[in-house]
Symmetry: D3
Subunit: 118 residues, 6 copies
Amino acid sequence: MPNKVQEFNEYRQKMNDKILADDNKVIKRIFNLDTNTFKEGHLPVKTKELLGLVASAVLRCDDCIKYHLESAMKNNVTKEEMMETMSIATLVGGTIVIPHLRKAVEFWEALENEAKNV
Amino acid sequence: MPNKVQEFNEYRQKMNDKILADDNKVIKRIFNLDTNTFKEGHLPVKTKELLGLVASAVLRCDDCIKYHLESAMKNNVTKEEMMETMSIATLVGGTIVIPHLRKAVEFWEALENEAKNV
Amino acid sequence: MPNKVQEFNEYRQKMNDKILADDNKVIKRIFNLDTNTFKEGHLPVKTKELLGLVASAVLRCDDCIKYHLESAMKNNVTKEEMMETMSIATLVGGTIVIPHLRKAVEFWEALENEAKNV
Amino acid sequence: MPNKVQEFNEYRQKMNDKILADDNKVIKRIFNLDTNTFKEGHLPVKTKELLGLVASAVLRCDDCIKYHLESAMKNNVTKEEMMETMSIATLVGGTIVIPHLRKAVEFWEALENEAKNV
Amino acid sequence: MPNKVQEFNEYRQKMNDKILADDNKVIKRIFNLDTNTFKEGHLPVKTKELLGLVASAVLRCDDCIKYHLESAMKNNVTKEEMMETMSIATLVGGTIVIPHLRKAVEFWEALENEAKNV
Amino acid sequence: MPNKVQEFNEYRQKMNDKILADDNKVIKRIFNLDTNTFKEGHLPVKTKELLGLVASAVLRCDDCIKYHLESAMKNNVTKEEMMETMSIATLVGGTIVIPHLRKAVEFWEALENEAKNV
């Protein structure tokens, strides 16, 4: 059975490696900045991950949603908190967010299954 | 042979059930509102479905397009009317709408085949 | 007292004239196509204007909304029909559409005042 | 001297009143839902306001940003937390968010001045 | 082994043929205009293809990106120039462009392999 | 008579100074990256400015368009080349780009007047 979480992470890692190997300084710095932005600051990491999640959801970027769902779970976000975040996204961004909500709920379930199997 | 219409509807139903089971009141109300919005009002259902279709098309939401194509066909929208609606979407939203137009025409064809087999 | 309708139309006309004077063939054809797209076809002009309005609203283009509100009123769209169209835009496009709904209602009022004064 | 905060709130209130007077049920329910969504839930109000802010910022809706900035300040969000939220918006949404960041910083300053004068 | 380039082109051609067979004049003219817009003008074809690429990337349209990548390679765009174009897209459009950058790099690789096999 | 070019630049500078004074590292780095991205690289500055312009236009960011128009003129972009770039934006991004085209042509004219007066 295909593992949605592993598939996503492996493709992401493989392509990120190729992109960074290309030595485009702007892209490298953006990747680097992405890591730094979500570190502990005036706001805790958990809040930042929810901010990243809602931004990804209203901009309707499935891969970005998956990435933040995974980080959110690692930072002890509960399903209720995740759903509340997605409900804000659906209200602010409209019903066009719903197809991404479906995929988010599906991926969250895959992450839960992954967590049980570790 | 996979049936695009059934696949779409089954996945959509399965995930909607999971989402609604989560008991997030905001999301439940948005789902409920979605049903009410497209009911007969000052504008007929058929016009509303075309409004939903063009909104989905310019916002480039394939699943939303499919949903409104299916409702549109049930409400006696002809292919010419559907194409005219999509032409407005392509003009207003630009050539980035074209990939979604391709998928819309493909799904409409699947809906026509489905209708013949009933 | 500044007249919002006249101001909008005068600026629009002045700049359109300058743009068309520049003799860029692609832009000229798009302007020309815009006029043709909203003519009577398989769908009546009134429905097409509502399609143009909802597309403009979810894409949050105030000037496009104003343009279609004016054409809609000329084609006997009632306020109830306009509001129903905007309600679909607000549901599908989310609460970020609301600021544009405010301006739409304000411009519709200006159009009504304009109509009384003719 | 014009007061940006009062101007914004007065126009917003005036037009919301007109919109709600129109008795469109879908729009009324969306307005009502908007109020409920940002109430205390599994997530605290402060976090929800930051989620509303970042969603508004990446969708580049100045009026929505202003609305959430005002609520954020009322809920004890500090300037550092606000800027951190906006930095996530600028990274995720790109440099096209910067003009909205400029207006956000300007409005935050107006809110601070307003607070001093109370 | 599936050939990503051929698959993309065949589906695109098949659906374009169906769309054009439908005889919707607005859509036909937009398709026609699309061909004319990217022809040599005041700007060379190569620059125009990069403009089409960056526009497609910030609007996050994978199929449009693929189409312009293929034309760009035919017009002697180097990988470094392509990556520099995509870096502008990622800065201006934000990190939500990154998933499309991954697919762009993957498709460019497929185009390079295709070129070797001719 | 208000000078559109000076007004734009002064407001932009004033707010950028305030933003950078806030010492948010992520935002500082994005501002810094913005400067570096548009420097000579594998692509000449002039091409990069046109890429920045078309990206800003399809994303419908008036302030970003103005910024790139000013840089484009400094880098010897002709009006014909600017209009050709905007025509690609209007085709790819749709007729919702037209209101931004109007403002772009107006600002270009202001830049031309400014250049004559120097």
